[in-house]
C-alpha cells in the first residue's frame, strides 16, 4: 500500500494513535504511511514556498513569524522570530540546522512528521533558509531512527528533482540544499551546541555559551538550530498569513503536538491548540487506562505534575505546561519514587561528564533514590537529596545539568508524602521493597 516505504525496504512501522482536532501539522499524517511529493503538492504543498519566495521579502516573513508568537518546540520554548532576528546581525555564510535528535524520554512527536509528512519539514526549512539568508541546511536525526533517515533522504531527493531544492529555486536567485546527518545514541547531542560538535564529527560535548549558535555555530559560522515541529509550523504560518493569529489563544497561536504515553487508553500523538488543559488532553487520549485513578504526569524527564495541576493550560505561559508537550501519565498503581529512579538513572547515564557537579551529582541522586526504593533511606538522605538538587545546576554549563534534578524538586514539592512513606518503609502504590 505504501509505495515509498516498500521501495525503501522499510519494515512496517508500528501503528499508533495519531489524532487532531485542528488538522494543521497532522493534516496529512494521520494515516501510517509516507506522503510523497505528488500527493504533497496536490494537497497544497510547496505553495507556501512559492508565496514566500515570489511575494514576500525575508523581512516580511520575519515580521510574520514574530507576530505568530511561534516558540521553539524542542524544549526551551524560545521565541523563534527573536532567534532569527538575532542571526541577521551576523555575517554570511549562515547555516540552518534542524534538530531531529528527539531523545527526551516520552517524546515521539517529531518522528511522526518525519516518517509520514517529510515534505512539510523540508518546505519549512527552505522558507527558513530564505528568511535567515542561509544556503545550506542540515538535519541531525538520532541514530535510532533508521527509517526516518531513509525517508528524509528520499524526500529530499524528490524535492531536488522537482526544483524545490538546489540552485535557483522556482526560478528565483535563491539557492538552498539540505543534508542529513545521523547521530549515534547520545541524549546530550540534542543540546544545540553538543549537536553542532557532533555534526562536525566530534564527541558531543556542549560548548560554553555565550557565544550562542546564531553568533558562532556550525564551522564557527552563525547558525540557527530549530526543532522539527518548530520548522514544520513555518509553511502553515505563511499559508495562513495574518489568519494564523486566529488559531488558538492570544500569545500562543498555532498548533502544538503532544506525545502522550503511560497509563492512558489511547497513547499516541495528539494535535491541539494550546488552550487545551492537561486534563482535557488526557481525556483526548481516552482518559486513564482501565478506569483507574490519576496520580501524576511526568513531562519527560523535566517536570512532575499532580492532581492540582490538571487544569493548567498546555501553553508557554509561566504557569503553562510548555516544553516539548511530552505527557507521561501515571496512575494510582505507579510509584513516584520508582519513576524518579528511572529518570535519575537516565540522567546519570546521559551526563557527558564534562562538569563535575553534573557528573557526580547525577550519580549521587541515583544512589539516594535507590536507597528510598529498597527501604534503607534515612532522614539524612532526604536532606542530602535536597542539597544535591540545589547544587547540580549551579556548577553545570548546559541544559542537561540545569534540568537533571528538576523532576526530583517537583516531586519533593508535590508528593512529599511519597518520600515520607518510603522513609517509613511503606510504598503507597505497593511497587517498592520487593
Amino acid at each position: 500500500m505504501d509505495r515509498i516505504r516498500e521501495r525503501l525496504g522499510l519494515p512496517n512501522l508500528p501503528e499508533i494513535y495519531v489524532e487532531s482536532n485542528i488538522n494543521l501539522l497532522l493534516r496529512r499524517a494521520k494515516e501510517n504511511r509516507t506522503v510523497g511529493i505528488e500527493e504533497y503538492v496536490n494537497t497544497g504543498g510547496y505553495s507556501a514556498l512559492e508565496k514566500a519566495l515570489k511575494r514576500m521579502t525575508p523581512e516580511d516573513i520575519l515580521v510574520l513569524v514574530e507576530e505568530s508568537t511561534l516558540r521553539g518546540r524542542g524544549g526551551a520554548g524560545f521565541p523563534t522570530g527573536r532567534k532569527w532576528r538575532f542571526i541577521l546581525m551576523n555575517p554570511k555564510p549562515r547555516y540552518l540546522i534542524c534538530n531531529a535528535d528527539e531523545s527526551e524520554p516520552g517524546t515521539f512527536k517529531d518522528r511522526i512528521i518525519i516518517e509520514r509528512d517529510p515534505h512539510l519539514l523540508i518546505e519549512g526549512m527552505i522558507i527558513t533558509g530564505y528568511t535567515i539568508g542561509a544556503e545550506e541546511g542540515y538535519i541531525y536525526i538520532r541514530g535510532e531512527y533508521p527509517a526516518g533517515y531513509k525517508i528524509l533522504e528520499y524526500a529530499i531527493n524528490e524535492a531536488r528533482e522537482h526544483g524545490f531544492l538546489g540552485k535557483n529555486i522556482l526560478g528565483t536567485d535563491f539557492s538552498f540544499d539540505i543534508k542529513v546527518y545521523r547521530g549515534a545514541g547520545a541524549y546530550i547531542c540534542g543540546e544545540e551546541t553538543a549537536l553542532i560538535e557532533s555534526l562536525e564529527g566530534k564527541r558531543g560535548h556542549p560548548r560554553l555559551k555565550p557565544p550562542y549558535p546564531p553568533q558562532w555555530g556550525l564551522y564557527g559560522r552563525p547558525t540557527i538550530v530549530n526543532n522539527v515541529e518548530t520548522l514544520s509550523n513555518i509553511p502553515i504560518i505563511i499559508t495562513y498569513g495574518r489568519y494564523f493569529m486566529n488559531i488558538g489563544p492570544v500569545g500562543f497561536f498555532g498548533p502544538k503536538l503532544f506525545p502522550i504515553s503511560g497509563k492512558v487508553e489511547r497513547p499516541g500523538v495528539y494535535e491541539s491548540t494550546m488552550d487545551i488543559t492537561l486534563r482535557e488532553l488526557i481525556e483526548m487520549a481516552g482518559g486513564i487506562k482501565g478506569g483507574r485513578k490519576f496520580k501524576a504526569v511526568f513531562s519527560g524527564a523535566l517536570g512532575v505534575y499532580g492532581e492540582k495541576d490538571l487544569d493548567i493550560p498546555m501553553d508557554y505561559s509561566p504557569k503553562g505546561f510548555g516544553g516539548t508537550g511530552t505527557t507521561i501519565v501515571l496512575d494510582e498503581t505507579d510509584c513516584i519514587i520508582d519513576s524518579l529512579l528511572v529518570i535519575a538513572n537516565f540522567f546519570h547515564h546521559e551526563s557527558c561528564g564534562k562538569c563535575t557537579p553534573c557528573r557526580v551529582g547525577t550519580y549521587e541522586q541515583l544512589n539516594i533514590l535507590k536507597k528510598f526504593k529498597n527501604g534503607t533511606a534515612t532522614k539524612k538522605d532526604l536532606d542530602y537529596l535536597k542539597h544535591i538538587a540545589k547544587n547540580i545546576p549551579i556548577g553545570s554549563i548546559c541544559g542537561l545539568g540545569y534540568s537533571a534534578p528538576q523532576a526530583i524538586v517537583d516531586a519533593l514539592e508535590k508528593f512529599p508524602e511519597e518520600f515520607e512513606a518510603h522513609l517509613e518503609g511503606k510504598c503507597p502504590a505497593g511497587v517498592c521493597f520487593k
Binding site: E104, P105, G183, A184, R203, V342
Partner: protein
C-alpha cells in the same frame, strides 16, 4: 594497504560521505554506521583501517566510538535486541518482556547467547512510547504491548 574490514562497498560509501560534507571528520560517524550495519559490531581493527583511510588520528575515532552508545564494543552477535527501559516502557513492565526474551534467546543483558545469534541491550527511550514496552531487533521496531508469547516467538524466528 589492503583492508580487511573496509570492503569495496564500504569504501564507496565512505567516499560518498567525504564528498557530502566539507570536513573529513564528518565522515567518521556515518562510516561507523556502515561498519556497524555490515558487521553488527565495530571490530577494533576496523578503526585502524578507518583512521588510515580518512587520515585522521586513531585516538579521535576511538574517542567517538566510546562516546556514542550505538558504537560501544559488544560481543559480536548476529542480531541485536534493544529493549527500552525508560519511564513509559518501565510503566508498561519492560522487565517482564525482558525475562521472556532472555528465556527464548538464552542471552542476557550485555551478554551474547552461546550460539552467537543474540545480544541483548537495555536502552533509553527510543521514541516509541505509545507502543511500550518497545523494542528493536537490528533496525526493526516492535510493539511490545499486548504481545503474546506465541507472537514473540514468531518475531524472534525471523532472525536466524
Amino acid at each position: 594497504m589492503a583492508y580487511k574490514y573496509l570492503t569495496e562497498d564500504i569504501i564507496k560509501k565512505i567516499d560518498e560521505y567525504r564528498n557530502k560534507f566539507p570536513y573529513k571528520e564528518q565522515a567518521i560517524i556515518p562510516s561507523l554506521h556502515e561498519i556497524l550495519e555490515k558487521y553488527r559490531d565495530i571490530p577494533e581493527k576496523s578503526l585502524e583501517e578507518l583512521a588510515e583511510y580518512l587520515k585522521v588520528p586513531l585516538s579521535h575515532i576511538e574517542g567517538i566510538v566510546s562516546f556514542y552508545d550505538m558504537f560501544r564494543f559488544k560481543k559480536n552477535a548476529r542480531h541485536h535486541i534493544r529493549i527500552c527501559r525508560n519511564l513509559p516502557c518501565h510503566l508498561a513492565n519492560y522487565q517482564s518482556l525482558l525475562e521472556k526474551i532472555k528465556k527464548l534467546t538464552n542471552a542476557d543483558v550485555g551478554k551474547s547467547s552461546a550460539d552467537g545469534r543474540w545480544y541483548i541491550e537495555l536502552v533509553e527511550c527510543i521514541g516509541s512510547c505509545a507502543i511500550a514496552p518497545a523494542f528493536l531487533i537490528d533496525n526493526d521496531l516492535y510493539d511490545g504491548s499486548n504481545l503474546t508469547d506465541e507472537e514473540l516467538k514468531k518475531i524472534l524466528e525471523k532472525y536466524k
